[in-house]
């Protein structure tokens, strides 16, 4: 029996479909959600999220957010999410370079935290985009 998955960002509903399993990065580590999981509300971390349908596993890069599991429905409120094969590597690479630059010329602690966050997100997107390349070849 599959479960209903909905991924929503501030801009739109990104995805709404039936899936067989879901793996998501939480602050406490990676969790796997299978159908009929108990009710859960958790904070998501920057990392790789995988959606499993049948024998197919699709990786996504997620930049944090929330996951709610209730009555065999999973709702992910993502800060930002991208399917691995849709990640624009040049843009991610540029973001990484800019974040590193900001870390070197940091002016305040606020900038520092922000630049660190950006660097993590950029690295995450690059890493996941590369995983997908390896899997494909």
């Amino acid at each position: 029996m599959p479960m209903q998955l909905e991924i929503v960002t501030a801009e739109r509903v990104v995805l709404s479909e039936e899936v067989d399993a879901l793996y998501a990065p939480t602050k406490a580590g990676r969790v796997g959600i299978l159908p009929r999981h108990s009710a859960l509300l958790t904070i998501l971390d920057v990392g790789e999220m995988d959606i499993v349908k049948g024998n197919e596993r699709t990786p996504y890069a997620i930049a944090g957010g929330f996951m709610e599991v209730l009555n065999n429905r999973v709702t992910i409120l993502a800060d930002s999410v991208e399917r691995a094969d849709e990640i624009d590597e040049t843009r991610a690479e540029r973001a990484r370079a800019a974040a590193e630059e900001a870390l070197r010329n940091r002016e305040s602690n606020i900038d520092l935290a922000q630049a660190e966050g950006e660097l993590r997100r950029a690295m995450n997107r690059l890493r996941i985009s590369q995983i997908k390349n390896i899997r494909r070849s």
């Binding site: 960002t9 501030a10 108990s38 509300l41 904070i43 929330f66 709610e68 409120l77």
Partner: protein, 245 residues
Amino acid sequence: MASSREIKRRIRSVKNVAQITRAMEMVSASKMRRAQRNVLATRPYADRLLDLMSHLNARMVGVRKGSLLESRPNVKKVALIVVTPDRGLCGSLVTNVLRRAGSFILDQQRQGREVEVFTFGKKGKDFITRTGQTLVGEASKLGDSPKFTDILGVAVGAVSGYQSGTYDEVHIIYSEFINTLVQRPSVKQLAPIQLPVEETSGPRVDYTYEPGQADVLEELLPRYVEALIYQAVLEASPASIARVW
């Protein structure tokens, strides 16, 4: 008396103008539908956040210091976010929003409160600097379909200002889109967040929270304010297109 040739020429020219305006109308109409779709598409996210926050809040006792739910008894400084389109040529839209912003600022100052302003759109920024108000953050040239990340800088500025205690209230003024003919300047309080009281219609399944309940709630709150700001900015877009049209 105009010659029949002149009359024919004028008929042709009127027909041409009619054709051009019809084309313009069609472009505006499709732009506007897209802008309206953009606004509608943001609802599920904000609605879901609101639902979760209300649910969590109903089971909490007291709020943390610096939380976006914490209301401050003594309001000294207020942040105001003014949302205007970049374009002019949209009739009274900009004027109405700015007039509302002006009276809001005066009213606050009369109560002895200081006001600092964030703006979206060039018109708002020009107005605030021209009238000698304190402009602390702005974003302009957002186009007809602003991205969420376009508004995040200003949003984070206002939210963290509230959390750190610099601001005791945060408000936003934008043009609420009623329909293509009516857009109303509207003032909304963003912080402290006013949550509707959750109806106690039977026990709802309770979640396992990771980490704790309060931590999840505190992470939800700033996202909600950001989502509201994004909605307000998006709503100004169909409003301004409707006005040009």
